[in-house]
C-alpha cells in the first residue's frame, strides 16, 4: 500500500452540451498516508466523482498533480483499484473469473490466479458463488465481488465511488461492516466517495467535506475500531461528528 498525494488539483473542461467552460474541481490538495481510510463526502455535483475519476486516471486533470507513492499518475492502471457504484462486473465471466481478471492481466498463470481469487472470495465470504455469473447474484453480493476484485489485484490505492448507493439500506449496513472488517485485515489506502454522511463517518479515519469543487474542511474521526452499527448508533461522539459534517455539507 502506498500513500496518495494530491496537490492543487483542478479540472476545467469544455462542456459540449452547454457550450461553455466548466470548472468541476478548484485547487484541491490532500495528503493520504499509506493505509489510511479517507471518506470524501459532499452533495451531488460537488465534484467528488470527478475527483475520483481523475485519481483513477479516467479523466485527465487540467492543473496540479496526483502522486501515488511519490510518483505521478498517468491514465488508469492496476496501481489504483476502483470499485464502482454500478458494480461494473463483467457479465460474461463467472464471479471467480471476474476476481481473477486483474492477476490475469498481469500475466499470472491460471492455477495461481484462481487460487488468489478463491482466497479473496473467502475473505468476502462468497466462496460458494465462485462459479456463478454476476446476473445470478443479488446487488449486495455483486458489490462484494466488486470490492474483492479490486483488492485481489493488490492496488497501491483503492478508490471507491459511492459503492453502496445502489444497494438497499439493510444490505448497505452489512456491506459497510464487511468493508471495515476486510479493511482491518488488509489495510489498503482507501478513498471512499459518498453522499451519505453517517456512512462516511462510520468508515473513515478522516472525513473530507467537499462542496462545489472545493474542500470545506477535513475532520479526523478518532472512533475506535472495530466499528459496528449497533454500538455506534448509540455513541455520542459518532453522533456529534456526523452532525458536524452534515451541517458543513448542508450549509455550503
Amino acid at each position: 500500500m502506498k500513500s496518495l498525494t494530491i496537490r492543487n488539483l483542478s479540472k476545467t473542461y469544455f462542456d459540449v452540451h452547454a457550450g461553455t467552460n466548466v470548472t468541476a474541481v478548484h485547487d484541491i490538495s490532500l495528503e493520504v498516508p499509506a493505509g489510511e481510510f479517507v471518506s470524501v463526502v459532499g452533495p451531488s455535483g460537488c465534484g467528488k466523482t470527478t475527483l475520483l475519476n481523475m485519481i483513477a486516471g479516467f479523466l485527465p486533470h487540467t492543473g496540479g498533480e496526483i502522486l501515488v507513492g511519490g510518483k505521478p499518475v498517468k491514465g488508469p492502471g492496476p496501481d489504483r483499484g476502483v470499485v464502482f457504484q454500478s458494480f461494473a462486473l463483467f457479465p460474461w465471466r463467472t464471479v471467480l473469473d471476474n476476481v481473477a481478471f486483474g492477476p490475469k492481466m498481469r500475466g499470472v498463470g491460471r492455477a495461481e490466479r484462481e487460487k488468489i481469487a478463491h482466497e479473496y472470495l473467502a475473505l468476502a465470504k462468497l466462496s460458494e458463488a465462485a462459479g456463478r455469473y454476476p446476473n445470478e447474484l443479488s446487488g449486495g453480493m455483486q458489490q462484494r465481488v466488486g470490492v474483492v476484485r479490486a483488492l485481489a489485484n493488490e492496488p497501491d490505492v483503492l478508490l471507491m465511488d459511492e459503492p453502496f448507493a445502489s444497494v438497499d439500506a439493510q444490505t448497505r449496513m452489512t456491506l459497510q461492516e464487511e468493508l471495515t472488517r476486510i479493511w482491518e485485515q488488509k489495510r489498503p489506502t482507501v478513498i471512499f466517495i459518498t453522499h451519505d454522511v453517517p456512512e462516511a463517518v462510520f468508515l473513515g479515519n478522516r472525513v473530507v467535506a467537499l462542496s462545489k469543487g472545493r474542500v470545506l474542511e477535513e475532520i479526523a474521526v478518532d472512533l475506535p475500531r472495530p466499528r459496528v452499527w449497533d454500538d455506534l448508533n448509540e455513541d455520542d461522539r459518532f453522533k456529534a461528528l456526523s452532525g458536524r459534517v452534515l451541517q458543513l455539507v448542508r450549509s455550503a
Partner: protein, 305 residues
Amino acid sequence: MSKCCNTAREVILDHGELASRPRLSDAAAAAVLHPERPARRFLPEEEVMRHRLSSALWFCAPFAVLLVLWAVLIPAFEVNPRLFPNLESVVQAGLDGIKDGTLIRHIGASLMRVTVGTLLALVFAIPLGIAMGVSPAVSSFLTPPFRFFSVLAGIAWIPVASLWFGYGFGAITFVIFNAVFFIVTYNTLLGVSTIPMQVRHAAASLGAGKWAMLTEVLLPGALPNIVTGIRTGLGFAWRGLIAAEMIATNVGLGYMLFVARDFYKTEVIVLGMIVIGVLWLLLDRLLLAPIERATSERWGLVQRA
C-alpha cells in the same frame, strides 16, 4: 442516444429471432406465478436432455399431421399435378435429384455462396463495428447511414450486382455480403456502444491493455448484439440468395425453382421449397438460436436490450 439505439435495435430485430423469445416469457411467467422461486432454474443434465427430446418430438408432430393430410387429400381431390404435386412425386423428385447429383449441386452452390459471402462480410463488419462503436460521438454520427443501408439489405442490390459482376458467383456473393455486412456492422456498433462506460473503466483499472480490452471486454460485451446481427443478416442473405439465384445464375436452389416453373414441374418446385425451409430452419434453430441463447441469456444481457 439510448432512445435512438433502442428503436434502431427494434428495426433490426428479425422475426426469426423473436421466435426464440417464448423461452423468456416462460421464465417471466414462472417468475410471476412463483415470485419466491428464482426465475432461472438449474436442471440436472438428463432432465434437460429429456426436455429437449420431448420438445423436438412435439415440434415435429404438426408436420407429421401435415404430411398425412398431404398424402391423403391431393389424390382424394384429384388435384392436377401441374397445379400441386402429390407427396410421392415430390419424394421421387428428391431421390432422383440426390441420385444424379443435381440436387446436391444446387444445395452446395447455394450454401457455398452464403458461407463465403457471410464470412467475408463478418471479417470486415465486426472490426469496423467495434472501431466505430468505441467512440460515442462516432457511433451516433454514423448510425443513420448504416440504418439506411441496412434497409437496402440483400434484394435491392441484385440489379446493381448483376450489372457490376455479371452472372454467377460474384454477383450473388456480393448480394449476400451486403445483406450481412451492413446489419452486422450496425449491430456491432450498437453492441459496443451500449457497454457501460464503467465496465470499460473497470477493465482499465485492473490493468487491461488495448488488446485485452478488445478481447476481454469489447468483443464479449458486444457479442449478443453481434450474434443477433448475424442471425438477422443471414435471414436477409438467405432470402436475397434465393431471389438472386432466380435471375442471375444457372445453378443453385433459386435457379432450380425458377427453371422448374417453366416446365410446370411442380414437384421440383415444392421439393425446392421444402429443402429451403428445412435448411433455414436447421441453420437458424440448431446453430444460430442456441448461440444467441448461450451468449445473451446466460450472461443475463438480454434484459439490457
